[in-house]
Amino acid sequence: MRGFTFSDFLTMLWAVQWTATLVLIALALGGPLGLAMAMMRSSRNVVLNVIALVILQIVQGVPLLGMLMFFYFGMPVFLGIQVPALVSVSVAFTIFTAAFLGEIWRGGIQAVHVNQSEAAACLGLTRWQGFRHVIAPQAFKIALPSTVNFLVQLIKNTSLASIVGLVELARAGQLASAATFAPLTAYACVAAIYFAICFPLTQWSRSLEKKLHVVR
């Protein structure tokens, strides 16, 4: 048995890169899909609308832990081949991100007054131009605080990847705790690192929200 040393802490900081990797993958893949979800949900096409709604309901009705397990054990079943844990975890986080960002952005799009898109149409803009230059910039501003808030949720939720064995921050904490028999120090360090990452984002989201309410 050995004590908890500074090098354990450094190992945890090193593991943050995997937390960051997961977050970046989820945003890079889930972001565009989320935009697609938002546009499906705010489109007039009933079929697209229903498909997006069903996906949203399922993602919001199943624990993220369950989704992770579903894809972790499901990918080999669907594809017939073994895939690395990182791939199945990324798939789960991508779907999770797409559904939630899609819902947040839909809210942003629908909060822009309908007059705005009518005005865009009157100016002879096509529907896409109207969305791109009139609706989207305003919707972006409205949805930004919630988007940052979701980012915080996503960062915290990547800790669940530890359960399928990915060595990100939370898993590094577990390993350190098991090796040193110092769970208090180990988990307190992990919590402190998460806090140091998430707290500034939360504050930023709050200040964005305040600004938004002043403008409106």
Partner: protein, 221 residues
């Protein structure tokens, strides 16, 4: 694809037990969390800066760290303070504290949504302090926050799956147990996801029904 769900039928009772425990955990966390939230919201405009700071720190620490780590901290660390809680109790405490931090914010926004003039109007009508609190502040505020409270309860139902990581015997833990017996990993987790989904849908329906019955007085906008 080679799927086999038949083997799972034998573990019906285990699944039922898991569902019960999950619902119980959710109930405990909801009730305890809402009590913490109400107390925290009322105290957060206390005149003592120390009290305000304590509540602020509690809310920020819980909201900015993962629930999984909170559960680990409570389960593995409390024994060092001489308090050895069994998994279920430790998970209940952790989830209640988690729920509490979010409900402090929800209740605060609810209280902030009541204009001061409305409270003064209640006092002018000769209501007692308690009556003002109950009829003029609490009920209208509750209606304003009802949707966010309902979705928070659903989040805590889903979040209770984390309790399986300290081996509290809720639904997700049942899944791990059945998986270890049958080696039907994918089927087990597919079924468990479906059960969670049904629970969440039913809960949403119940919340929608309650909203219709409990808050049906007319509003003027």
């Amino acid at each position: 694809m080679n799927l086999n769900f038949n083997q799972l039928w034998r573990y019906q009772d285990d699944f039922l037990h898991g569902i019960q425990t999950t619902l119980l955990l959710t109930l405990i966390a909801t009730v305890a969390g809402m009590l913490i939230g109400l107390a925290g919201a009322l105290l957060s405009d206390s005149r003592q800066p120390a009290v305000r700071l304590a509540i602020r720190s509690y809310v920020e620490v819980i909201r900015n760290t993962p629930a999984l780590i909170q559960i680990f901290l409570i389960f593995f660390v409390l024994p060092y303070a001489g308090l050895r809680l069994p998994p279920f109790q430790a998970a209940s405490v952790a989830l209640s504290l988690y729920m509490g931090a979010y409900t402090v914010e929800i209740f605060r926004s609810g209280l902030a949504s009541i204009p001061k003039s409305q409270i003064e109007a209640g006092q002018c009508l000769g209501l007692t302090r308690f009556q003002v609190f109950r009829y003029v502040i609490l009920l209208p505020a509750l209606r304003n926050i009802y949707p966010s409270l309902a979705s928070q309860i659903i989040l805590i139902l889903l979040g209770s799956s984390l309790a399986s990581q300290v081996s509290a015997d809720e639904l997700f833990h049942t899944a791990a147990f059945v998986e270890s017996r049958t080696y039907r990993s994918f089927e087990v987790y597919a079924v468990v996801c479906a059960i969670y989904f049904i629970m969440v849908l039913s809960l949403r329906l119940i919340f929608a029904g309650v909203e219709r019955i409990a808050f049906r007085w007319p509003t003027r906008r």
